[in-house]
Every structure is written in C-alpha cells, then in structure tokens.
C-alpha cells in the first residue's frame, strides 16, 4: 500500500477566490525519495501542509477529495496526531526554532507528546548524531549558522521517528555548500533509515540525482509525475519554468548536434562527465 495517496485533492484557503491546489492525485511508496518542483506560487507549500493536516485543521478553508498518509485520513485526525508519522521542515530555519538551546529544541516534540526523560535523551542524542550537530547541542539557535539551524530543524522532526519527512524548500536561505550538506543528510536518512522523503526544491542541479520520482506542479495542478530523466528532457518542462539541471541541458544540446552519449539522460555533472569520458576515450 502507498504511504501517501491523494485523490482529486482540491483546496481553497479561506477568503481566496480560486483553489491553491486543484485535483492533485499522487501516490508515494514507502521508502521513496520524491522531489516536487514547480514555479513559485504553484501550490507546493500548500500540498505539503496537507500531508500533516495543517491544511485544513490549522488553515481552515475548504478541502475536497481524499488523502491518506501512513494509512491515516488527515481530515479526521489532528496535526499533533500526525506529528508522530510526518515531520515537516519549513523554508525559514529561524522561525521553526523556539528554545534557548539546540537540544531543547530537538526535544520539543517529544516533550509535547509526553515521552519519559530517559527515552527522550536517547532519541534526542540519536537525532543530533544523525544530523551531525551533536557537538553544538548546548548552543543557542542564534549562535549557529543557517545551515546548522536547518539541520536542527531536521533533527527536531527526526527525534519523533516519523515514517515520512517533508521538506519545503529547506535550502532557499542557504549557500550552495550548506545546501549540499543538507541534501546529503536527507539522502542518508532515506537510504540508511528507510525514511520516506518528500523534498520540495528549485535546485534540481543538486537534487535531481537523488530521486527517481519527480513531481512537477504548475498553477495548482500536477503537470508531470514520474521518471526525472524523461520529464526533464521534455521541452514543456523547461517552458513552465523548471530549472533543468545544466548537465541535462548540455546533453540535449550535444544530442541535437549529433553527438550521441547514450540513451540515459544525465541529471548531474558527474553523470555527464562519465558519459563524455566514455564517448571520447579511444576504445
């Protein structure tokens, strides 16, 4: 059974004249690394808010269609019940940390659900280690960099041991190097802990290589869903305004000029470099 499944999900914010997501039907399997992309304002954040019930419980408004997350109908369960299953990491790292020390922030969710102190300590330390911030656990959020803050935010949802982690443009406030570190942390959690990851990103250059399930949204609708190599090589995707990885673009240009590098569309510079080396090396 799919871990997330939506059918014709349509949602309108209170007071809005038109829905922010329209007829969204997607399916995510357990353990997948899913990438969602699309131009600003196309409804990516709104869709993320559906996954843990912020929409409609926190935002009110009108939600139509069906949604099931970890086998739970989010329409019938509160966001605090979903917190054990789905962790949401937001765009601005600063506004999701409230405590005066990092470990206290990581413990926040566990404190809220009433986990005992000994168990909490273990889970907090585990989450701190998984995200590589154990050594700075006693600092205050103001004293650390944006990249570290975002790792604290990831640790703080990770401590709840969710089956799914949803990250909404987690690196848009970060420099490329910190961003890459965040992606590596996420990728490792997906591979080693088997956590299902849903990542909303514009930086496909850095992230397309991690996924084999891409969702492209536009104007509230899902425009493409499936194999990123196929979707990213189509002309339409580029026209919507999706940032196609440079390697993919170069591959297509070379292909048009008649240079055949094989059938596999590359998603990262590494992949393209390998293909080029192979094509250029004398047999």
């Amino acid at each position: 059974m799919a871990i997330i499944e939506t059918k014709n999900l349509t949602y309108t914010y209170p007071g809005a004249t038109k829905p922010s997501i329209v007829d969204v039907s997607i399916k995510v399997e357990k353990g997948e690394f899913v990438l969602i992309t699309g131009p600003s304002g196309c409804g990516k954040t709104t869709l993320c808010r559906c996954f843990n019930g912020l929409v409609p419980h926190f935002y009110q408004g009108e939600l139509k269609g069906e949604i099931s997350v970890s086998g739970i109908d989010t329409l019938k369960h509160h966001t605090y019940e979903m917190a054990k299953h789905v962790g949401l990491v937001f765009q601005n790292p600063e506004n999701q940390l409230f405590a005066l020390s990092i470990e206290k922030d990581v413990a926040f969710g566990l404190e809220n659900v009433g986990v005992s102190r000994e168990e909490m300590r273990k889970k907090v330390d585990w989450a701190l280690n998984q995200t590589g911030i154990y050594d700075i656990r006693e600092r205050s959020p103001h004293e650390i960099s944006g990249g570290q803050q975002q790792r604290v935010a990831i640790a703080s949802v990770l401590a709840m041991e969710p089956e799914i982690i949803v990250l909404d443009e987690p690196t848009s406030f970060l420099d490329p190097l910190s961003a890459e570190k965040i992606f590596e942390v996420i990728y490792r959690l997906n591979k080693e802990q088997g956590i299902t990851v849903i990542l909303v990103e514009h930086r496909l250059d850095l992230t397309a290589k991690y996924t084999d399930h891409l969702i492209v949204m536009d104007e509230g609708k899902v425009r493409f869903e499936g194999d990123p190599r196929q979707i990213l090589s189509s002309e339409e995707t580029r026209l919507i305004g999706v940032g196609i990885p440079k390697a993919t673009l170069l591959y297509q240009m070379l292909k048009k000029e008649g240079l055949n590098l094989g059938d596999k569309t590359p998603l990262s510079s590494e992949e393209l470099a390998d293909q080029l080396l192979e094509a250029l090396s004398p047999q």
């Binding site: 506004n95 409230f98 005066l100 206290k104």
Partner: protein, 260 residues
C-alpha cells in the same frame, strides 16, 4: 555594533550562575524581608556588603555597578525627600539622627535593587524558563517567556536592518524635536511589526507540526536538581533569617550618631 547589543543574553558559567534559580529567588526574598525588617543603618550596611562576595564570585561586577548607577537617581530622590520631610515636620531642625535615618531608608532601597540585580544578572533565561516550568506556572507562560527571549536578538537584528534600509532611502531618524523624532520611527516600526506577525504565524505552524498540545502531561528534557551549592545557599539564607530575627528582637542596635 548594534544599539540593541545590551539585550543579548550570554551564557556565563560561574558558581553563582550554576545555582538553582529557585533557591536564588528564595535568597533574594529573604534579603528583601530582612531589609524591610530593619530601619537602622548598621544592619542595612551589613546587608549591602554581604552581596558583594556573590557579585565577585559571579564576575558580574561591571554590570552590577551599572545597575546601581541606574538606581542612583531614585536613591538620591528618596534621600532628599526623607531629609526634607523630617526637616519640616520636626520644626526646621536638621539633626544627625535624622540624616542617618534618611540614609538608612535610601540604603534599604539600594539593597533591594542590588539583590534583585544579582538574581537577574546571574540567572540565564533558560534556567529561569525551566524554573517557571517546574513551578506550577502554566507551561504556556514559560514557553512564551523563553521564546520571547529567543527572539529578542533576532528582532533586534531585523530592526537594525530596517533602520539601515530606511536610512539608505533618506530617512533621518535623529532630526527634529522630540515628537518629530518619535514620528521618524514609524517607517521602522511598521515593517518590523508586519514581519513579526508573519514570523509568529510561521512559528505557530512549526509548533503545531511538532505536536504542540498533544497531551496535558508534558514532559521535560531537563530536570532542575539541587546540588551542594544550592544546599549551602539555602543554609546561608536560613542563617541570615535566624540572625536577623534574633537581632531584631533581642539586640538594641546603636545608631552611628550615638557611637560617635
């Protein structure tokens, strides 16, 4: 750097900082009570000097002096009013005893300020928040307190950014009379408030997503535990109270004027 630098809290470690905030608070209240108990200058002087070892141990003497300097104006006022009232009510007589009395009243005020400032200078906000959580204060208050402290430097930095941006567009903050100057700050305040509201919405969303309000029986990562130092301070506090009560009832305290 920023004009708001003073608002930033810093983590300092000293034997006094490590004390349990609840015991420290009890100590401050005890000093408070003893200061109220006496109106003679000698015991108040003793109380005043008794705080100094704490200040030195905590290494906060500079901040402490600053807070005393802050109280100086009010202290002078209290002294003058006291001297004046006795002067007029006693038939235009200025005696040494009266001046000493006024000085004692002033010193009492200074002792109160001094002990509270030692408490706040040596108690980190997270310690204080924790103490609030473990007392029967509803968790929402403790949370609001620590979160407010957490966002002070963030908002201060933002205010600075907005001020710089508005100045770059020609806003002159330091110009004109008092009213004009206050009005100058409107273009700084409005963006600051708007952004604070947006921030609070995002915070609320993040709190909800991390199971805020899931159960009434919330647990806590930290536990305040009493250590040796705390028991020592508690013993000192009880000792001070006992001596104070004994002296108050059984010892007649001379005035300095009578000793001379």
């Amino acid at each position: 750097m920023s004009v708001f630098d003073g608002l930033r809290f810093r983590k300092v470690y000293s034997p006094i900082h490590n004390l349990d905030p609840r015991i420290k608070f009890v100590y401050v209240i005890a000093i408070f009570v003893v200061a109220i108990l006496f109106y003679q200058i000698i015991p108040l002087l003793v109380l005043f000097f008794m705080q100094i070892p704490f200040v030195l141990l905590a290494r906060v003497q500079r901040q402490w002096l600053r807070s005393l300097r802050g109280a100086a104006f009010l202290a002078t006022f209290i002294f003058v009013v006291n001297v004046a009232t006795t002067y007029f009510t006693s038939g235009y007589l200025l005696t040494a005893a009266n001046v000493e009395n006024a000085a004692a009243m002033t010193l009492r005020f200074v002792v109160l300020v001094e002990s509270f400032s030692v408490f706040f200078l040596t108690t980190s906000p997270d310690h204080l928040g924790l103490a609030l959580e473990e007392s029967r204060v509803p968790y929402e208050f403790a949370f609001a307190f620590t979160t407010a402290v957490r966002f002070v430097p963030v908002l201060a930095e933002e205010a600075q950014t907005i001020m710089d941006a508005q100045k770059a567009r020609g806003l002159e903050l330091e110009k004109g009379g008092l009213l004009k100057r206050i009005r100058n700050y409107v273009p700084v305040l409005i963006p600051l408030i708007v952004s604070a509201i947006r921030r609070s919405l995002e915070l609320a969303e993040a709190m909800e997503s991390r199971a805020w309000g899931a159960t009434k029986k919330r647990t806590n990562l930290y536990l305040l535990k009493l250590h040796k130092g705390d028991y020592a301070l508690l013993a000192i506090t009880v000792g001070i109270l006992a001596v104070a009560v004994y002296v108050h009832f059984f010892v007649s305290i001379p005035t300095i004027a009578s000793l001379l």
